[in-house]
């Protein structure tokens, strides 16, 4: 299923890139290089996300006007799929050296949900795990290539951890609130993005080369595509996931 549809140069992709990169996934600034941008389409009928029973947590419940739902399949109004992690799986030259991370990536526990739900981080980059709810959360990482951790956060506080090895994806969860799940892709390079509320993603600053790009979704699995870039060109790579 790994068709990248058509890989064509698009001049005006930069705006979308900025959108997709905004917010939580703070990546090191990458100067120059090529870009791959695209949209993650969704076809078929999206399954309804389960409603969360927050009766036990009135503080969280109060943060919602409508009943909160889990974020398993987030289909955008424009028919695209959010929370798809798109990254360079292979193709980087052996000599490639990732720039040092510029700051922490923040994962916030707010309203008994994780923000963001899917994100990327560099090997060695600080993950700041914030509890904005001020009630007991535990944050557990269940990687297999990385050592796990499981931290208790019974109050408003921030804990910091790092990952030592590439791993797509490391599941994160709270056991006090069984519905809380997040996913982090740990990579040795900054060439990743997450599809946002308009379904677009962007990978910027790529050195010239031919790459395998993979798109990962927590329910629909992975798709791969191959793209070749040179100079500072921008190529489009769309993915499409179908309801099961």
């Amino acid at each position: 299923m790994g068709k990248l549809g058509s890989v064509a140069a698009v001049a005006g992709g930069i705006g979308l890139v900025a959108l997709a990169l905004a917010g939580w996934t703070r990546q090191p600034a990458v100067q120059g290089g090529a870009s791959v941008t695209g949209k993650v389409k969704f076809t078929g009928k999206a399954p309804a996300n389960p409603v969360i029973d927050m009766t036990e947590e009135p503080k969280c419940k109060a943060k919602y006007t409508a009943p909160a739902r889990e974020q398993i399949v987030e289909v955008n109004p424009n028919g695209t799929l959010a929370d798809v992690f798109v990254y360079v799986k292979s193709g980087l030259p052996a000599s490639y050296k990732a720039p040092a991370p510029t700051g922490p990536v923040t994962l916030d526990q707010d309203g008994c949900r994780y923000h963001p739900h899917v994100f990327g981080i560099l090997v060695g980059q600080t993950l700041a795990i914030k509890n904005s709810d001020g009630i007991l959360h535990n944050i557990k990482a269940k990687g297999t290539k990385n050592r796990p951790f499981n931290i208790s956060q019974p109050t408003t506080m921030t804990s910091e951890r790092t990952f030592t090895a590439s791993e797509v994806m490391v599941p994160l969860e709270c056991n006090v609130h069984g519905w809380m799940h997040a996913w982090v892709g740990v990579l040795p390079h900054p060439f990743f993005g997450v599809s946002g509320t308009d379904g677009s993603y962007a990978i910027r600053g790529l050195p010239p080369g031919t790459y395998t790009i993979e798109a990962w979704h927590e329910k629909y699995g992975t798709q791969t595509a191959t793209v070749t870039v040179t100079g500072s060109e921008t190529k489009t790579g769309d993915f499409s996931f179908a309801a099961k």
Partner: protein
């Protein structure tokens, strides 16, 4: 010259006495030990999937991920060799993992520890930091009221009750949702049974678990709270001491004879009558019913506390047991389904049915007639030709009936139902049965006489654990003695007890011999699971 001679001597010693390398760790020798003693549960490849694994909950450790519950290292870090040796040497209470000290030599245990580290590449990764945390010494005064009050304060403020429940019985609101890293259902620890804690029962053990967490389970580490000065180290100790105070000071000893004192006047018929607090209580362990199919290897009720008192006309018997759920409880249905799925690979016939909202149940069993000798009906609910007299209590409908059981499947009610009152209090059932010592139906109802050793046995079902019918927890026969107020009892009771103890001692010896003959696999499970 001298150095040469020493080297030569060492070489000779090494070749003649291979045992001299005891201090080293030999993974080849370790593999032999592993294959022989460990693979049955932990699997040939260390994935925790040996042939016996499917009958265990919790499941045997999967070594391939190098994720270990009981450590002295920070959350997520590899265990030290000493951590691994402790689990091998002392076993893991509350699980099927036995203590291997005494069964395997020092060298064998060290070798097998070295071998199981080879199942994961993490141990060979030199960038992994393996260092025990520095633990402070336990502050004094931990058993004092002020300290316990402070500990309780933190029990509430850091949210322990979310999983372990308001009174620590493992019945918190999140308890029914808990899974381990492999997706198997996992119980929040019942903090009233410290002898079943995997990492040990002392306040120091509990403090260490709070610092390190139990990797692979929902139990997190609280070290960050100390680092960020949300809690002081001493406050974490107070919490550990409070948790320790919830269990008896000593692991309960199993005494074979329940003594029911005689009192004058009315008996305490209510479960929370203050009179019960003054009466001695007796602990009886229960194990899964693994004789008749469908068998049950995951009993939720690990034992019952029993108290008895009589007034010459009636007997009141109080049975208390820890149960995480007041079944039927729909909040536990998904958990029950996961338990049944997890245990479904047993050779049960018929296979476990779909999860249903079963009630909780308890049965108290007597023979129909008090035997003169040691002959008693079959402990597992009698037989067609030799029935037993039982009281059966259910949580829904909330009532007790009396009847004759002729094996597990046949129960014929009798009119002599005992009066029963029950309370469910934050993860604990307390049920009081009251019945006249003598009844009109002397052929079927046990006639409870003073000064006799009355055989008694107990059965429990946790509906939310999928327990129903033969999927239950069972005890063996014990004895109930209705003491007499007359001086005669001073002589008679000890005599009875002596005879009984002697008989039981013989029984234990015979059984131990039989069990010893079962060999590795059976003997291991027998410790908790099949020691019926």
């Amino acid at each position: 010259m001298k150095a040469d001679r020493t080297a030569l001597l060492a070489a000779v010693l090494l070749s003649v006495y291979p045992a001299i390398r005891l201090s080293a760790q030999d993974t080849t020798a370790g593999k032999n030990v592993y294959v022989k003693w460990c693979a049955g549960c932990h699997g040939e490849t260390g994935a925790g999937d040996g042939p016996a694994a499917s009958t265990m909950l919790p499941r045997p450790r999967n070594f391939t991920g190098a994720v270990y519950k009981v450590r002295t290292t920070a959350s997520g870090q590899l265990p030290t060799d000493a951590d691994l040796m402790r689990a091998i040497d002392d076993g893991l209470p509350g699980s099927a993992m036995p203590a291997w000290k005494g069964r395997l030599s020092d060298g064998e245990r060290r070798d097998v520890m070295a071998y199981l580290k080879t199942f994961s590449s993490f141990f060979a990764d030199t960038s992994q930091h393996i260092a025990a945390l520095t633990f402070s010494k336990e502050p004094g005064g931990g058993a004092g009221a002020a300290a316990l009050k402070e500990g309780r304060l933190f029990y509430d403020s850091i949210g322990c009750r979310k999983c372990h429940g308001d009174q620590g019985h493992g019945d918190g609101p999140s308890a029914p949702t808990l899974k381990d890293d492999a997706g198997f259902p996992i119980y929040a620890a019942d903090l009233h049974q410290s002898w079943r804690f995997r990492g040990g029962p002392t306040a120091a053990d509990i403090y260490r678990r709070l610092r390190t967490g139990l990797d692979g389970t929902p139990m997190p580490s609280f070290s960050d709270l100390i680092d960020q000065k949300f809690l002081t180290d001493e406050q974490l100790w107070r919490l550990a001491q409070y948790v320790r105070s919830l269990s008896p000071a000593e692991t309960p000893e199993v005494r074979d004879v329940i003594h029911a004192a005689q009192i004058a006047g009315a008996l305490p018929a209510a479960p929370d009558d203050s009179a019960w607090a003054r009466l001695d209580r007796y602990w009886f362990p229960l194990v899964g019913q693994v004789i008749r199919k469908p068998r049950w290897f995951a009993p939720a009720v690990s034992g019952v506390w029993v108290q008895a008192v009589h007034n010459g006309r009636e007997l009141a018997l109080r049975v208390s047991w820890d149960d995480r759920s007041q079944s039927p409880d729909t909040a536990w249905l998904a958990f029950e389904r996961r338990v049944l799925e997890t245990m479904a690979s047993d050779d049960s016939s018929p296979p476990p049915s779909a999860a249903e909202p079963w009630p909780d149940q308890l049965a108290v069993q007597f023979p129909r007639h008090i035997p003169d000798g040691m002959e008693r009906p079959y402990f597992l609910m009698g037989a067609a030709t030799d029935p037993v007299y039982q009281w059966r209590w259910t949580s829904q409908p909330r009532r007790a009936v009396a009847g004759l059981a002729r094996g597990i499947d046949q129960f014929d009610a009798l009119p002599s139902a005992p009066a029963a009152q029950a309370v469910y209090d934050h993860g604990e059932w307390r049920v009081v049965f009251t019945r006249a010592l003598a009844t009109p139906d002397t052929a079927n109802d046990v006639q409870l006489a003073t000064g006799r050793a009355i055989p008694v046995a107990f059965f429990a079902w946790d509906g939310s654990d999928g327990e129903h019918g033969s999927r239950m927890a069972v005890s063996t026969w014990y004895f109930l003695a209705l003491d007499r107020p007359t001086p005669a009892s001073v002589v008679v009771s000890p005599l009875i007890a002596m005879v009984v103890t002697l008989g039981l001692g013989m029984l234990v010896i015979v059984r131990a011999q039989r069990r010893g003959g079962q060999g590795g696999q059976g003997g291991r499970g027998a410790g908790r699971r099949s020691g019926v």
